[in-house]
Structure formats: structure tokens, C-alpha cells
């Protein structure tokens, strides 16, 4: 916890400092940060795309240091196979696990609180097998491990039980899949935190925009990797009909989850401001949803 907070504070301070200096100094302004805000990678191999996306935004070593405990949080919400595009692609998850371990992580944990039976979700999604093979500790949610977390400044939720393993991790890698959703319209990066909520989380749909922005104020991923290898264009978030699945062979990575989600919306012909939670998060200064102000690097892997 302390490690992550420290890291975030330091990063924020450094970024603020850099920005301040850069805006003053014409020479520094001419030398932008070495990596783009968003990397958008297209290619046939999801694992390669993931590696290319990470290296475009600075490489895994930018985010993970030696000896750290890392949580890779995919969406394993449904009893569906990878072809049905309801869960994060297993190759993408496995690639991130492998990269985190290569960067020196002590442990990489993978978990989610599914909507369907967890055993079926973990197996049928292919994520348990792939992540374990890559060296991750894959575990089911243990109900005894939720801890009430205060959300100071929360608009829709002031406190909620969140999963301890996530709270105690040194680094968090958010790896959602892009798909449609009944209330939220789309489920992308910000919505992925529903998977670490305890209790009767279905209630947050009553004010999904503010609730997800509230969560984003207390959960700070080092990087968000949006899996758009296959996207679900209708009947999400669960799908089940291959006709609703569109193969995009795309991975989007960035440190700003709001920018990632805003870009993710465009995959469905929507725009970030049209999603309540993106708009809410942007309004609270949690990230940049205006893609004109986001430096995007497109890579062909």
C-alpha cells in the first residue's frame, strides 16, 4: 500500500514538475516525454500485440520494479469461451503476467469476482490455465478478504468493501475487455473495478457513472491494457452469440484509464463523453477524455 501510494505521489510530483518546467522552457518543450499517452497496436497475435503495446508506452519496467507484488486484473466475469468475447483474452493476460515477472515482480496475482460460477468462468475463459502457465498465482475470490475502504469525496458511494489483495499490491495492471453493457453502454477500463467489489455490488447500477468514478479515486492502476482482440458489439456484457463478436485484433495501452476508455468508445462508434463514467471521471480530473489532447501512437505488431 505504502509502496503504491509512494509511487503514485512521486510519479504525480515528477509529472507535475516536468510539466511546469516544460511549459516554461522552449527547449524542454521541444523534447516531449519519450512515450505516447496511448499505444494502439494492431496485429494478428494478441500476445505480441500486448508486448508491443507495453513497449510503446515505456516497457513493463516503467511500471514494475524488482520484488514487487503485482496484480493483473482481467475481466473473468462470465462462463464464456475466449471466442465469445465476454472475458479478457487469455493470451493478453498471460503476456502481461510474463512481462511483469520478466520485469522482476516477486508475485503476480490474477483474480476476479465473476457473475457466473467462478470455477466455470476461470476454466472456460482460458484465463486460469494461461495465467498459471505464465507463472501467475491464480486464485478465487475469498469472501473473507474484502475490506471496507472509505471513498473520500465519493459522490455515489462513500465506502465499499474492496478486495484486500488488490489494495495491498505494489502495482496494479488493469486488463479489461471492450464490450457493450446495458446501463454503462460499454464496459471498459473503469468498469473493470466492479470485479474487486464485495457486497451487493449490483446496486451501483443505480448511478453507474458516479459510482465508477468514485472507485477510480481509490484504485490506481499503473497501466491499463484494453483488450480489443475481439469485442462484443451487442448483448453484452455476457454475449454468447458469435454474431455479436467483432474481431479487431487491437490492444490499447496507457497510464490514463480515462483516455484508454475514451479511445475504447470509438471502437464502437461512440465517444468518451457519451459514457457517463468517462464523463464523470474526466469532470473530477481523473484523466483526459478529449482524444485531441491525447498523444496516440499506432503500432503494427
Amino acid at each position: 500500500m505504502a509502496n503504491r501510494r509512494e509511487f503514485l505521489t512521486r510519479t504525480a510530483a515528477a509529472a507535475a514538475g516536468l510539466a511546469a518546467v516544460a511549459s516554461l522552457d522552449p527547449v524542454l518543450r521541444a523534447a516531449p516525454p519519450p512515450w505516447p499517452d496511448l499505444a494502439v497496436v494492431h496485429g494478428a497475435d494478441p500476445a505480441k500485440n500486448t508486448r508491443a503495446a507495453l513497449s510503446a508506452v515505456g516497457g513493463m519496467k516503467r511500471f514494475v520494479s524488482k520484488g514487487e507484488v503485482v496484480v493483473v486484473k482481467p475481466n473473468i466475469g462470465w462462463d464464456r469461451t475466449p471466442e465469445q468475447a465476454a472475458n479478457t483474452n487469455p493470451h493478453v493476460v498471460a503476456a502481461l503476467v510474463a512481462m511483469a515477472l520478466e520485469a522482476g515482480a516477486k508475485t503476480v496475482k490474477v483474480f476476479d469476482r465473476p457473475c457466473n460460477d467462478p470455477r466455470r468462468c476461470y476454466t472456460q475463459s482460458g484465463i486460469e490455465a494461461a495465467a498459471k502457465a505464465a507463472g501467475a498465482e491464480v486464485s478465487f475470490i475469498n469472501d473473507r478478504k474484502f475490506r471496507e475502504v472509505a471513498i473520500p469525496g465519493g459522490v455515489a458511494i462513500k465506502a465499499w468493501p474492496l478486495y484486500t489483495d488488490l489494495l495491498e499490491a505494489d502495482k496494479i495492471i488493469n486488463v479489461p475487455i471492450a464490450k457493450t453493457h446495458g446501463t454503462a453502454k460499454l464496459t471498459l477500463g473503469l468498469k473493470n473495478w466492479m470485479g474487486v467489489m464485495g457486497g451487493s455490488r449490483g446496486r451501483i447500477h443505480q448511478d453507474i457513472g458516479e459510482a465508477l468514478a468514485d472507485l477510480a479515486t481509490v484504485i490506481h492502476p499503473a497501466v491499463t491494457v484494453l483488450d480489443a482482440t475481439r469485442i462484443l458489439t451487442a448483448n453484452g456484457p455476457q454475449g454468447g452469440d458469435l454474431k455479436d463478436v467483432k474481431r479487431l485484433d487491437t490492444i490499447i495501452a496507457g497510464t490514463d484509464v480515462v483516455a484508454v476508455d475514451s479511445y475504447g468508445a470509438t471502437l464502437f462508434g461512440l465517444a468518451g463523453p457519451g459514457l457517463a463514467y468517462v464523463a464523470a471521471a474526466s469532470r473530477r480530473g481523473l484523466g483526459q477524455m478529449d482524444l485531441n489532447k491525447v498523444r496516440i501512437q499506432t503500432v503494427q505488431a
Binding site: 457473475c115 486460469e128 446495458g182 453507474i208
Partner: protein, 538 residues
């Protein structure tokens, strides 16, 4: 203990020191242990692991139960292929007698163990009520002939699976989870590590993935405990006097080739008679009852002189117990009459289909289902969400302890087909996944007075989100409703598509209106019953 008592208890042995336990008894003990462990192992494997099938033949013991075969043939005139395996037990019994009871039956082994817990007097009293089990068998088979399958209530294997699954195992899990709560709750910084270590150890062995809870678990466990308790009155009381499978095997064992022979050197000390688990009278060649002998070889172990033994021979033993023709006829009549009396009551829906009688997917039409279901509890044990529960009176008294889905406890997992896979009698058909996903077990109905978007101008989409059909059976009607302030609020009000809803109940299970969900499933429209339909098109 007074001196005369002590004297009475001390076995009087001609040879002085206690005879050595013969190898055959050790072999029997090892076999019993092996079968019991196999039974328990398969029991523990009767659980969702994430794949589409279990990987173990978890209903193996039931497949080898000829009582289920014969009674199902009488009641339903059809059985799944695997149940024919049980016929193998007949030739085995015709050669070796009730060796199944003494060497293999897990309930028999538990009874044997329970009986060993008590210290018995040298001459324990035996009541000789052997005929009761034959009368019970006759009654059950007569009921089956008139299409009521009640055998499973008394069949030892169904009874044991059911009692363990619905009572003992959930209780064990309560205890294990209590220990885990204790460990995780310790006010020390190594509590989580201790909890994790225990959880890992328990999960790898005995702990269920989620705490099972079953209605009537108490009653069902109490019956098992009572059966085990009877062993304190007489050793293997159940096996001697009550077990209908034992009775069925006894009918064949009468012609068994392996027979007890007592030589002329026998001093008639009667030690073997007192040691006999079955009270089968091994003390004399003439008095030995082949149909009551479990072949446990306790007589061999107790004999000080080695004057008894077993050998193969052809002559059939005397009639199995003194059932008597009148009693047999009365038992048959009672079984048949019981069916009529049970069915004289109005059905559980009082003339209409019972709304809460949501049967598992693949369950046959109700009368056909009741002809087959032996209430072994396998489907309830394996149910992924724990939603399959034993009925009490929801299916009428005749249908007691048959499975019913209670969505509030657990919904039917869309891609899961395990209940059909473990059903030993085909009451729940084994369906391929793509077929199972199309089976309607009921229909969801929305209670507009409790549903947030209808009653409270508040957005909510949980039922639609979790609805598993590829084209969702819940769709939204956009409606402008007034909030108290007078402001018009646009909400999406859920509607159920009657053609698409399969009644799985996940909407009811996940509805955020927790205590009394705003969407509930009833059995209306279930595919198994063409008369229980709502729509003209179905």
C-alpha cells in the same frame, strides 16, 4: 463390573488364548476400507470443477445397485444403460452370497464400524426380525409396479449419498468454515497467512467450493444417525432387518454356492453365533441362513477350534426368513395401496401445475420424473450454485426429497449440464450443452411494485445484464416516469421475452431487491410439460 459379568463377557475359548484373526478377515477389512474410501472419493468429486464434465464416474456405486434397476424397470419400464451394470451383482451373489453387504456396501461398512463402538455381552440378544426387510422390499416393488418409485427412500446407497450430500457434508463444511473464520479473524498479523494455509489445505481435501445449504438437511441426517444408532441395539440392525437391497440380494444368496459348513469337531460353544454380524447362525451347517450371511468371516475369526469353514456346494439353503405367504401378500397390497392413498390427495398445485416446482433442466414430465427419481441427491450435491434442493411437500408426499430449483438459493448455470450427467436413473436426462441451453424450466415474471425502474424511477439493469441467453430474454422499454420532485426521469424498464426466457433464475438470484426479488421464476412454460404452457406458439 461385577465378577459374574466379567466372567460372562470374557470369551470362553477351548484353546485358551484368543484365536488369531485369519487373513480372510484382514482381506475383508481392507476391501471394506477400499470401497468406503472409493465411495467417499467419488462423493467428493461430485462437484463442479469448471469443466463441462466431472472426469470421474461419480455415480458408480448407484450404477451397481440392482434394487434401483429392478424397481426402475417396474415403475418406469426403462433405465439408462449404465444401470444394467448392476446385474453383475446377481451372479456374484449367486456364487458368493451377500458378499456385497459384508465387503463392499459403504453403508454396511459404516454400520459395521458403528456396531464395533459398543462393547457387546458374550451372548448378545438377537431379535430375528429378518422378515421385515423382505416385506419392505415386497411393498416397495409393489408400489413400483404401480408406478410409484419409493425405493430410493430406503435403498442404502441412495440413502447414504443423500444423507451425506444434504446433511453431513454441509455440516462438515460449516465446521471447516468456522475454523477458517476463526483463523482469519485472529488479532495477530499472521492471521491471513494462517487462514490462507488452512484454506489451501481444506480446499485440497474436504472443503466444498461454496458452503452447501440444504433444506431438511437436519431431518435427512437424523435418519442416517438413527440408522447408525440402531447398531447399538443390535450389530448391523439395518443390514439384518431393514435394508431392501440386502433383502433383494438375500433372495439370490439363498442359492449361493459358497456355504457354511461346520465339522463334527465343533463343540457348539456358539462363539461364532455371537460374533456373527448378520445373526445368520453360523454355529451349525443346518441352522446357517445363507440369505442373512454377509460373508464377513467373523465366525472364522471367533472359532477357537477351527471346526467351521466355507466351501462350495449346490444344495439351496432353507427359505429366506419365514416371510410367510399371507404377510407377503399383505406387504404387496400395502405397497399398492400406499400408491393409491398417496395419489388420493390433490396434487401439489391442487389441480393446477405447482408454480414453485421448478425441476432441473432435462427432468422428465412430472409423472415420468417421479417414476424414475430415487432421491439419491447426486444432482443436488453436484449443482453448481446449490440451487437444487430437496422437496418436502412441494411435489406431494410421493415426491418427497426430489430436486427442485430454488433460484433464490441458486440459479441454474446456463452452460452446466452436471445434474443430468450424475442422475443414475434418467429422471433428469443427460443433455448435450447446446440442447440443455434451450430447455425452459420456467419463466421469469417482474413485480412492478418492487422493481426499481418501475416503482422508484431509479435505474437498474441487473436482471438484463446477467440474463444468459445469447439474445437476452430481458429487454428494455424506455419510459419517462416522474420522480417525487416532479422531474421526468427516463428509465429502462425491464420486460421479459416469453419466447426467449428459459427460467434459469439468475435474474431472481442476482436481483438487488434482496429479500423478495422484483423478478421471480415460476414453473410456467416448462418445456417438459406441453400442457403447462402460456403461449399458443409453445
Amino acid at each position: 463390573m461385577t465378577a459374574p459379568e466379567a466372567e460372562a463377557r470374557a470369551p470362553k475359548r477351548a484353546g485358551g488364548p484368543r484365536a488369531r484373526t485369519p487373513g480372510i478377515v484382514w482381506a475383508r477389512r481392507a476391501t471394506q476400507t477400499g470401497f468406503l474410501l472409493l465411495f467417499l472419493f467419488l462423493f467428493l468429486q461430485t462437484e463442479q470443477r469448471g469443466a463441462d464434465s466431472l472426469g470421474y464416474p461419480v455415480k458408480l456405486f448407484l450404477d451397481f445397485d440392482p434394487l434401483l434397476l429392478f424397481s426402475s424397470l417396474l415403475s418406469a419400464h426403462a433405465v439408462p444403460a449404465a444401470l444394467w451394470l448392476s446385474l453383475l451383482l446377481i451372479p456374484v451373489t449367486l456364487v458368493l452370497g451377500r458378499v456385497f453387504c459384508g465387503w463392499a456396501c459403504p453403508l454396511g461398512t459404516l454400520n459395521h464400524l458403528a456396531g464395533s463402538l459398543r462393547r457387546w455381552p458374550a451372548k448378545p440378544r438377537t431379535r430375528g426380525w429378518f422378515r421385515v426387510k423382505y416385506l419392505l422390499l415386497i411393498g416397495l416393488l409393489a408400489a413400483a409396479l404401480f408406478s410409484a418409485q419409493l425405493t430410493g427412500l430406503f435403498d442404502p446407497l441412495s440413502l447414504l449419498v443423500r444423507s451425506l450430500a444434504l446433511g453431513a457434508y454441509p455440516a462438515l463444511n460449516v465446521a471447516l468454515n468456522g475454523l477458517l473464520d476463526l483463523a482469519y479473524g485472529l488479532k495477530v498479523n499472521w492471521a491471513p497467512a494462517l487462514g490462507d494455509a488452512l484454506l489451501k489445505a481444506f480446499s485440497a481435501t474436504l472443503l466444498a467450493f461454496r458452503q452447501p445449504h440444504f433444506r431438511q438437511g437436519f431431518l435427512i441426517t437424523a435418519i442416517l444417525l438413527a440408522i447408525l444408532g440402531l447398531n447399538f441395539i443390535e450389530r448391523r440392525f439395518w443390514c439384518r432387518y431393514l435394508c431392501p437391497l440386502g433383502a433383494l440380494l438375500g433372495l439370490f444368496a439363498r442359492f449361493g454356492l459358497l456355504k457354511r459348513r461346520v465339522s463334527e469337531e465343533c463343540t457348539s460353544c456358539a462363539l461364532c453365533d455371537h460374533a456373527c454380524q448378520g445373526s445368520a447362525g453360523p454355529g451349525s451347517t443346518q441352522g446357517w441362513k445363507a440369505s442373512e450371511c454377509f460373508m464377513c468371516m467373523s465366525c472364522e475369526a471367533s472359532c477357537p477350534g477351527g471346526s467351521g469353514g466355507f466351501g462350495f456346494g449346490l444344495s439351496p439353503s432353507p427359505e429366506p426368513a419365514d416371510v410367510g405367504r399371507r404377510r407377503a401378500v399383505l406387504a404387496a397390497f400395502s405397497g399398492a395401496a400406499a400408491v393409491a392413498i398417496l395419489r388420493a390427495a390433490p396434487g401439489p398445485g391442487a389441480g393446477r401445475p405447482a408454480p414453485l416446482l421448478i425441476r432441473p433442466p432435462g427432468a422428465l414430465r412430472e409423472p415420468d420424473f417421479l417414476e424414475r427419481c430415487v432421491r439419491c441427491g447426486e444432482c443436488m450435491k453436484v449443482c453448481t450454485t446449490g440451487g437444487l434442493q430437496p422437496t418436502l411437500l412441494e411435489a406431494g408426499l410421493e415426491g418427497i426429497w426430489t430436486p427442485v430449483l430454488v433460484p433464490r438459493i441458486g440459479y441454474c448455470e446456463y452452460n452446466c449440464t452436471l445434474c443430468g450427467q450424475v442422475c443414475p436413473t434418467g429422471a433428469i436426462q443427460k443433455l448435450p450443452a447446446e440442447q440443455k441451453r434451450k430447455v425452459r424450466i420456467g419463466l421469469a415474471t417482474i413485480d412492478k411494485s418492487r422493481c426499481l425502474p418501475y416503482a422508484h424511477a431509479t435505474p437498474c439493469i441487473v436482471c438484463q445484464e446477467v440474463c444468459p441467453t445469447p439474445v437476452k430474454a430481458i429487454w428494455f422499454e424506455r419510459a419517462a416516469v416522474l420522480a417525487r420532485s416532479g422531474a421526468a426521469v427516463e428509465v429502462k424498464q425491464p420486460r421479459v421475452d416469453l419466447d426467449l426466457c428459459i427460467g434459469c433464475g439468475i435474474c431472481e438470484a442476482k436481483c438487488p431487491v434482496l429479500d423478495q426479488p422484483a423478478i421471480t421464476v415460476s414453473s410456467l412454460g416448462e418445456s417438459r410439460d406441453p400442457d403447462h404452457q402460456l403461449l399458443l406458439s409453445q
